[in-house]
């Protein structure tokens, strides 16, 4: 209990004596400085990427290029209309993509559950263990899945296996983090009760903590399956299997009509999986929330055969577990991964492989450290002009895309929020628009735009911004729908117009979510823009793929570290800013 000294309480003067504006205190100064820094960086990014120059972006020259791309020239066929000549193969590859996502999600879940218990403040055996677990989770979140795939392809060669590992390893970053957060928010009481009766640590976890987080875990896993499927569609671009490999095959032959057919099939599949995971998640969690609410008659219970009643939740959970096991086995069959070659990649061999042999994971991991162990000197000079330029290009691309995307998504999100949209028709059509914008993988948009618009940063910015419209629009709209209606009733009751209600009753409540999600989008975009270079859209990814293809692992690792640092700084900054806003 703190006692406030009367002398420290400022007594407000009469209204005519004080200027009635918010006090210019430390928090406000920090917020203003952050806004200024972000605005300056956004301006710099838009200038550096060249996207500001709309006359060139939409000029005669680029219009011709796009027309040639779409309708073809005498030398090559156009992209329109999209065509599918090998439907069987296409279907096979889409299924392979799905099963890569399933196996990757499973792998990530299996790794994340123990990791989350080690990483949560209240369940970790030791602070050092917690720091290491949190570090590993942050690392796998920071490194884009495409880059993991790129590295794993060096070890496991082309095929679905590196894809599964990349998806799995990257997903630990999100699944592990959300699970650890859920554990930290759990009630310590039940666990204390088990400790107080002499239960072991494992029993405290299994019976005191785990039951509390089951619904959250289920939701997280199903949500991630959806994200993983989207991610799996582009892994083929770096040789890690799935429908992306077909896209690469067709674009290599300059058959853009076939490539566009693949894209259309991908979009349909993404929408289907989105629906699937959403419905399964809702069905499970809704049944969970109503499970066990009914009182059972004593006569219905046979004391010699006491078992929980088989209600909707238990039936659905059982179906979910059986279906997951079935899908996992199916993915083992469909992707035809070899468990033996997986373990062969893990063999304890730190040295260089014999000629003709693939290197071990450990060898590649060691070589990824930008350090020469023979001479004890750092290998990677991150301040050399190439790296510097590529790094700034990447940051600018991510920043510009986030800025433009958020600016476009924000007005849309008001139309896509059920409680604010002017009409049901507007709400539904905006939602469909957002879903479609989200369904096309950014990397594929980037490939298409690079061909259509030429090299440079602009295609990357446009591709990422389009993704932001879909993803950000959905996040913002959901946040607006979550706004409590109390303040709105207050504003409406004084006779405010619809617009005033939205401006005063809704927007102030939505601002913290807007800033939080906006910074999250910025963070994702800088990570994504680091990958764009792999498909020719400039930035640090171009260097990265160059180094990897020439087996210069040390430089690759150096670049990964630079990306890690940049993303880490942005994450810290957004945490810092969020605390000040709420």
């Amino acid at each position: 209990m703190t006692v406030i000294e009367p002398s420290r309480l400022r007594v407000p003067g009469a209204p005519e004596q004080v200027a009635l504006r918010p006090p210019w205190d430390r928090r406000r100064r920090e917020l203003a400085a952050s806004a200024l820094v972000l605005a300056v960086l956004a301006g710099w990014a838009i200038w550096r990427t060249g996207i500001w120059d709309l006359a060139t972006v939409f000029g005669q020259e680029s219009r011709t290029k796009v027309a040639n791309f779409l309708f073809g020239t005498s030398l090559r066929p156009g992209a329109l209309p999209p065509r599918v000549t090998q439907p069987g193969l296409l279907f096979e590859k889409v299924m392979e993509t799905f099963f890569i996502a399933v196996a990757g999600t499973f792998l990530a879940t299996v790794c994340s559950v123990p990791l989350a218990f080690l990483a949560a403040r209240n369940t970790t055996p030791h602070p050092v263990v917690r720091l290491m677990a949190r570090g590993l989770i942050a690392f796998s979140r920071t490194v884009p899945d495409v880059i993991f795939a790129f590295v794993f392809v060096r070890v496991y060669r082309i095929g679905p296996l590196p894809g599964i590992l990349a998806i799995g390893f990257h997903a630990i970053g999100m699944i592990g983090k959300l699970m650890a957060d859920a554990i930290e928010q759990s009630d310590p009481g039940p666990r204390e009760a088990i400790a107080a009766q002499g239960g072991s640590w494992l029993q405290q976890m299994s019976t005191g903590v785990f039951p509390q987080v089951v619904p959250s875990f289920l939701g997280t896993i199903l949500f991630r399956l959806d994200i993983n499927f989207r991610a799996s569609t582009v892994l083929g671009l770096v040789g890690a299997g799935g429908v992306g490999s077909l896209f690469v095959l067709y674009t290599g032959n300059l058959r853009w009509d076939l490539a566009l057919g693949v894209v259309c099939a991908t979009v349909v599949a993404v929408l289907l999986v989105d629906q699937l995971s959403n419905r399964v998640r809702k069905a499970l969690l809704a049944a969970e929330a109503t499970s066990g609410r009914k009182r059972l008659r004593t006569v219905a219970l046979d004391p010699d055969r006491l078992r929980p009643p088989l209600d909707a939740y238990r039936k659905r959970l059982a179906a979910f577990v059986v279906a997951s096991a079935g899908l996992l086995y199916a993915s083992y069959l469909v992707t035809a991964v070899s468990i033996r070659s997986f373990f062969y990649g893990l063999r304890p061999q730190l040295g260089a492989p014999q000629s003709g042999q693939p290197p071990s994971v450990w060898y590649v991991a060691r070589r990824l450290l930008p350090f020469d162990f023979d001479t004890n000197t750092p290998v990677f000079d991150w301040w050399n002009p190439f790296v510097r330029k590529a790094l700034f290009d990447t940051i600018a691309t991510g920043f510009a895309a986030a800025t433009i995307g958020v600016a476009l998504a924000l007005p849309l999100s008001y139309f896509a929020a059920r409680n604010v949209a002017p009409s049901r028709a507007v709400y539904q059509s905006t939602r469909i628009l957002l879903v479609l914008a989200r369904a096309v993988p950014e990397l594929i948009v980037a490939v298409v735009l690079v061909v259509a618009m030429g090299l440079g940063l602009v295609p990357g910015v446009v591709a990422l911004a389009l993704g932001v419209v879909g993803f950000g629009g959905k996040l913002f709209a959901d946040a607006i729908e979550d706004v409590p209606s109390g303040p709105r009733d207050g504003v409406r009751s004084v006779g405010a117009s619809r617009l005033q209600d939205t401006a005063t009753g809704v927007t102030p409540q939505f601002v913290p979510a807007l800033v939080g999600n906006g910074l999250y989008i910025l963070d994702i975009n800088i990570r994504s823009s680091a990958v764009l270079g792999i498909v020719g859209a400039g930035g640090i990814g171009a260097l990265l793929s160059n180094y990897l293809q020439t087996q210069r692992f040390e430089e690759t690792g150096g670049i990964l570290m630079v990306i890690f640092v940049v993303v880490f700084v942005i994450e810290r900054f957004s945490d810092w800013l969020r605390v000040r806003l709420i």
Binding site: M1, G189, P190, I194, Q197, G198, T207, Q212, P303, R307
Partner: protein
């Protein structure tokens, strides 16, 4: 067997590096089978004392012996063995809200079992039957498969009592078990607790705010004020006035005020 169930010797507990003294030179014994009620103001050290009896707190100095085991010297496995014989009923129930009543009661058997458990069906049928019988004793047999967060506060605490009984303890410690319940429900819950523990001839140490309830059931009462024992008598013949003295603040406007504030913070 004349060995007391609990023996506390010169127990002292400081928080904040000695700035707050929660327990000051507390010594007493509890013979097996006694029902002892601890009374005192909020912050007088009741909870702290109870939590020492299970070593949920480490003493600053002094000794706590439970069932012949010196808790301060007990190793991990020995501590766990003692804890198996000591049930603890918490003020906030400490049950898992989304699990069924039966599953919460079953978790009381964990101390006797090896390995982690999750789900009713991971316990044997005979344990399930035992758990259901304990639920029956607290009057909740028909709620066995209901989620505990849909039960009322009094029912939830009865589930917690059944869980403690499931442990087959020798001692039951209860830390203000009815402090978050309304008066009528409090009476019902305490009655359940006292009835089942006397049926099983258990040693009970509980802290309680309701003096009337305490006088009705307790065999012995211990009063705490500022971490010191200020009352320790058989409950028979104890008058309400004598008990209420424990609750009067000493010189409420004098120099001790700062201390009261620190303790209650």
């Amino acid at each position: 067997m004349n060995e007391p169930a609990i023996r506390i010797t010169k127990l002292r507990k400081e928080f904040d590096g000695g700035r707050v003294v929660a327990l000051d030179d507390v010594s007493f014994e509890v013979p097996a089978g006694q029902l002892l009620v601890i009374i005192g103001l909020s912050g007088s050290g009741k909870s702290t004392l109870l939590r020492h009896l299970n070593r949920l707190h480490e003493p600053t100095s002094g000794q706590v012996e439970v069932l012949g085991c010196d808790l301060g010297r007990a190793g991990r496995s020995e501590l766990r063995r003692v804890r198996r014989d000591v049930g603890f009923v918490f003020q906030q129930f400490n049950i898992v809200g989304r699990l069924s009543a039966l599953e919460n009661v079953l978790s009381g058997a964990l101390g006797r079992l090896r390995g982690p458990r999750y789900g009713v069906m991971t316990y044997s049928q005979s344990l399930r039957r035992q758990a259901w019988e304990q639920l029956d004793r607290v009057g909740l047999a028909d709620r066995a498969f209901q989620r505990t967060d849909t039960l009322s506060g009094g029912q939830q605490q009865r589930v917690a009592i059944a869980r403690t009984l499931m442990q087959q303890p020798k001692i039951v410690l209860a830390d203000e078990p009815v402090a978050s319940l309304d008066p009528e429900i409090s009476g019902q819950v305490m009655e359940v607790l006292f009835r089942v523990t006397s049926e099983d001839r258990l040693t009970v140490v509980t802290s309680l705010h309701q003096v009337e309830l305490a006088l009705g059931w307790a065999q012995r009462m211990v009063g705490l004020r500022d971490g010191k024992v200020v009352l320790d008598r058989d409950a028979a013949g104890l008058s309400t006035e004598e008990v209420m003295k424990v609750y009067t603040r000493l010189d409420p406007d004098g120099e001790k005020r700062a201390e009261y504030r620190a303790v209650s913070a």
